[in-house]
């Protein structure tokens, strides 16, 4: 278990100070040290810190809107907090642009760091710092891509649901049609049966009709014959009557 002796150290500093004062040792503050602090190399760490703060901003932004972003289509959420898809797309785009600029900045820093002629240790240190920043950026990008994956999953789910409902509609319709077709076929069967029955009847009727036609034809013949007979008979009767009347008339003359 570690022991914090910072206070002890500060106490030692005080002791040494008082001791030095007592002994009359004076430390003149090296004034140029203060200027030395504002070194040109500071530029690197400032820029690096800037990139980090940017990435942190992005992370906060993503986390802030995460809840709204993810709550796509939940029935519980009120309309006020729901985001439209446009807004989501906007966020996606912005985030991507931001991430791209950040990684550009990192690359730039890296190439700058390599160009400068400085010691190997500082170079290694800067390389490692940039690696750390990149990892951080990757972590934040992972946040973003997780969010995005959830959203994409949601979109797919919605589409899935839509497709499912469409399909189920189709299925219903098809079922209905199927029922109707079954009925039609049933009726068709009945028709066929009836038609078959009628066929036999029609056959018999046909037969009868043919017989009737024959009979009628014969009847016609007979009637014609009868008429002829009738006409012939009438002629003979007429002849007989005329003959009788002539015979009467003859007889009458003869007698006269």
């Amino acid at each position: 278990m570690a022991v914090d002796i910072t206070l002890l150290f500060k106490a030692s500093v005080k002791t040494v100070k008082t001791r030095n004062k007592a002994m009359g040792v004076v430390f003149d503050l090296p004034k140029d040290e203060i200027f030395k602090k504002s070194r040109p190399n500071n530029g690197f760490s400032l820029k690096a810190k800037e990139v980090i703060s940017n990435i942190t901003k992005l992370k906060d932004f993503l986390l802030q809107h995460r809840k709204d972003y993810v709550n796509a289509g939940s029935l519980i959420s009120s309309d006020l907090t729901r985001m439209t898809d446009n807004e989501r797309d906007q966020i996606d785009q912005d985030a991507q642009i931001f991430m791209r600029t950040c990684s550009e900045a990192i690359k730039q820093l890296r190439s700058e760091a390599e160009k400068r002629v400085i010691s190997t240790q500082i170079k290694e240190h800067r390389g490692a710092v940039l690696d750390l920043i990149e990892m951080y950026l990757k972590g934040v990008c992972k946040l973003y891509s997780e969010q995005r994956a959830i959203r994409v999953k949601r979109v797919f789910e919605q589409e899935n649901q839509r497709l499912v409902s469409e399909m189920s509609n189709l299925v219903d319709e098809v079922r209905q049609i199927e029922g109707k077709v079954v009925e039609i076929s049933r009726l068709q069967e009945i028709f066929a049966e009836k038609v078959l029955m009628q066929e036999t009847e029609i056959d018999s009727i046909h037969q009868l009709v043919v017989g009737a036609t024959e009979n009628v034809k014969e009847g016609n013949e007979d009637i014609r014959e009868a008429i002829q007979n009738n006409a012939g008979f009438r002629v003979w009767i007429l002849f007989f009557l005329v003959m009788c009347s002539f015979s009467l008339l003859f007889l009458d003359w003869y007698d006269s």
Partner: protein, 638 residues
């Protein structure tokens, strides 16, 4: 002590690297960059715990040695992690005067003295940099944790506290005091980090006793100082689940000299013995293109490769204590599973490639199944690559170890020594093995002979000894270490009868299933030798036995007159009767004079057999048999 020592130390380091505040869990936090400056001590402490990648993740852009040329990096805070020695302090003052960094966070590995603090204060004043020194901390981390339950004191300057330094005949009191102070300082830091005040037991009459006395005094002083006590409630923190205090057993290396010389058969101990293994890093010459050449063809090129064996390596964690043939089998298994997974991925790839060209094969596979499989395959790719890397690593390491085993016939030595140490009947005579020209290096033979000498109940007769000496000299061994062992044996005989090796051996169970695996080179070699592996019963090494007695409060003539210290008691009592009658749940074993992985493995095996008990192993330095023999030789030459 729910969190292991390693976790505690790593957490302390991480806290330090986060400007001495707790690290936030927020994963997308803004990066803050810093520079880490350490000395060699700090480097040794940090390197087993944190990899360079972890340092980078915490924002450390550069890590530099204190005494190297460092350029000014003007707007970066710097974290120092150094020992408070004179030269380090001077260098820090120089840095302050040269205005190298924007702010300074000074962390001292062990406590800094008031006068040195004033030195820094005056340097800061003269450089007008007092405001820049933001924080000063005493970290109390002056020890190196290698495993969850193993620690050593230091790696730099370890000659100063080595076995040689402690046991050399012409040692002066001042030197001894200095050594004891170093050891006690590190142990104190260890207990501060652990957050517990132990109960100390130690044998009488040797270096371990001196360490125990000093440590007890230091802990007692610190506890009395209520204002600055490091063991107050909030320091102990969470994790203080056990209401019992741990047992701290101090042992001296002189108790058991055979174990460091022993040839071993478990993976981690073998690597330490045979290859160059420091601070969890193996360095070896890798010959290009000699993956499995049993004939030992001369390699054309040699690159030096080093591998880190870390806590994240699951295979290592599982198998570091396993016997070597088991390791070879497991590597084979891992390779097979990896190949199966690789084939799966390839199959998926080919299926995906067929899409659009040929409808036939995919019509039988549904699309959704494919995407699921594909995503799982893609996400498991990094794991697969990591697995492959680890398998390659272990294959290389195991092959290197195997080469050594084969060329030096280490299995012969191991079996023989096992028999010596467990006093079973010997099949071959010692002389045969020593005069056998292709069994092992001269060092191996020396080791074997020394173990024989140490474990023999009576020393061999003069004629036998001369015979052995002649044979050893013929093979080119250096006999000075034998002189020292003779002296040691004489000394310990006076003190007590060494019946230490009545039951000693290490755990080794090798299945007969070795014959199945005819593909693997290792098993091939071993099977060709027609070895029937017997089952050795698990038996304890001397150190483990002592621990067992003390932890379980068993009565044993060996440990009964161990001294007892309890820093929390108001009066320092000289009695050796422990007040606590319950067995301890946690124990820390520390060997003064050096330790090695064989003892560590034995303790781990002992702990595994007793659920609910935790044992930590520490030593003042870690040496393998080769280094130990060198120390013995230089002692014997005096």
């Amino acid at each position: 002590m729910a969190a292991s020592v390693r976790e505690k130390q790593a957490a302390a380091l991480k806290r330090m690297l986060n400007f001495n505040t707790s690290p936030l869990k927020n994963t997308a936090a803004e990066p803050v960059w810093k520079v880490l400056i350490y000395d060699r001590f700090g480097q040794d402490i940090i390197s087993p715990l944190l990899a360079v990648k972890e340092l980078r993740d915490m924002g450390i852009t550069l890590h530099l040695l204190l005494h190297s040329d460092r350029d000014p990096i003007p707007d970066v805070p710097a974290i120092y992690f150094v020992m408070p020695t004179e030269e380090n302090i001077d260098r820090i003052c120089q840095d302050l005067r040269n205005q190298l960094y924007e702010s300074y966070y000074l962390n001292f590995i062990s406590a800094i003295s008031r006068s040195k603090l004033e030195d820094i204060a005056s340097a800061a004043l003269s450089a007008n940099a007092v405001t820049q020194v933001t924080k000063v901390f005493d970290q109390y981390l002056n020890f190196i944790t290698l495993e969850d339950d193993m620690f050593i004191l230091c790696n730099q300057n370890k000659e100063l506290i080595s076995y040689h330094a402690i046991n050399k005949p012409d040692i002066m009191d001042t030197e001894m005091e200095a050594i004891m102070d170093t050891i006690v300082d590190s142990l104190f830091c260890f207990f501060v980090t652990l957050g517990a005040v132990p109960i100390i037991r130690c044998p009488r009459g040797n270096a371990a006793e001196m360490v125990a006395v000093k440590l007890d005094k230091k802990l007692r002083e610190n506890l009395r100082d209520a204002r600055n006590s490091l063991f107050t409630g909030d320091n102990m923190g969470a994790g203080q689940f056990s209401f019992q205090r741990p047992l701290f057993v101090l042992a001296d290396r002189n108790l058991d000299l055979a174990t460091p010389l022993h040839h071993t058969w478990t993976y981690q101990a073998l690597i330490h013995d045979v290859l160059d293994f420091h601070l969890n890093r193996v360095s070896m010459d890798e010959s290009v293109g000699s993956e499995a050449s049993p004939s030992g063809a001369r390699p054309k090129k040699k690159n030096k490769k080093s591998y880190d064996l870390t806590a994240a390596d699951k295979f290592w964690q599982k198998h570091k204590g396993s016997p070597f043939p088991e390791v070879a089998e497991s590597v084979q298994e891992e390779l097979d599973t990896y190949r199966a997974q690789e084939d799966e991925v390839k199959r998926l790839k080919s299926i995906m490639g067929l899409e659009g060209e040929d409808e036939g094969p995919i019509s039988s596979i549904s699309m959704s199944d494919n995407t699921a499989k594909l995503t799982s395959a893609v996400s498991s790719l990094p794991e697969l690559l990591e697995k492959k890397r680890l398998i390659d690593l272990h294959t290389n390491v195991a092959t290197a170890v195997l080469d050594h085993i084969k060329s030096r016939k280490l299995d012969v030595y191991f079996e023989y020594e096992e028999k010596l140490m467990s006093k079973s009947t010997l099949e071959k005579s010692l002389l045969d093995i020593i005069s056998d020209p292709d069994a092992g290096t001269p060092e191996d033979k020396m080791r074997l002979f020394l173990i024989f000498y140490i474990t023999a109940l009576q020393p061999p007769s003069e004629t036998d000894l001369d015979q052995y000496k002649k044979a050893l000299l013929e093979t080119g061994c250096d006999l000075s270490s034998l002189n020292y062992i003779k002296q040691w044996k004489a000394f310990t005989k006076i003190a007590a009868t060494p019946s230490n090796y009545g039951n000693s051996g290490t755990c080794m169970i090798i299945s007969h299933a070795a014959a199945r695996w005819s593909q693997s080179v290792v098993i091939n070699y071993l099977v060709r030798k027609n070895r029937v592996f017997k089952v050795f019963f698990f038996q304890n090494l001397p150190v483990t036995r002592i621990l067992d007695n003390l932890m379980e409060m068993k009565s044993n003539p060996e440990t009964d007159d161990y001294r007892y210290f309890d820093p929390k008691m108001l009066r320092g009592s000289e009695s050796s009767t422990p007040r606590n009658k319950n067995p301890f749940q946690e124990a820390i074993v520390f060997v003064v004079g050096g330790g090695n992985y064989i003892e560590y493995q034995n303790l781990v095996d002992y702990t595994k057999a007793k659920p609910g008990k935790r044992v930590l192993y520490g030593c003042s330095e870690l040496f393998n048999a080769g280094q130990f023999i060198k120390q013995l030789s230089s002692l014997g030459q005096k």
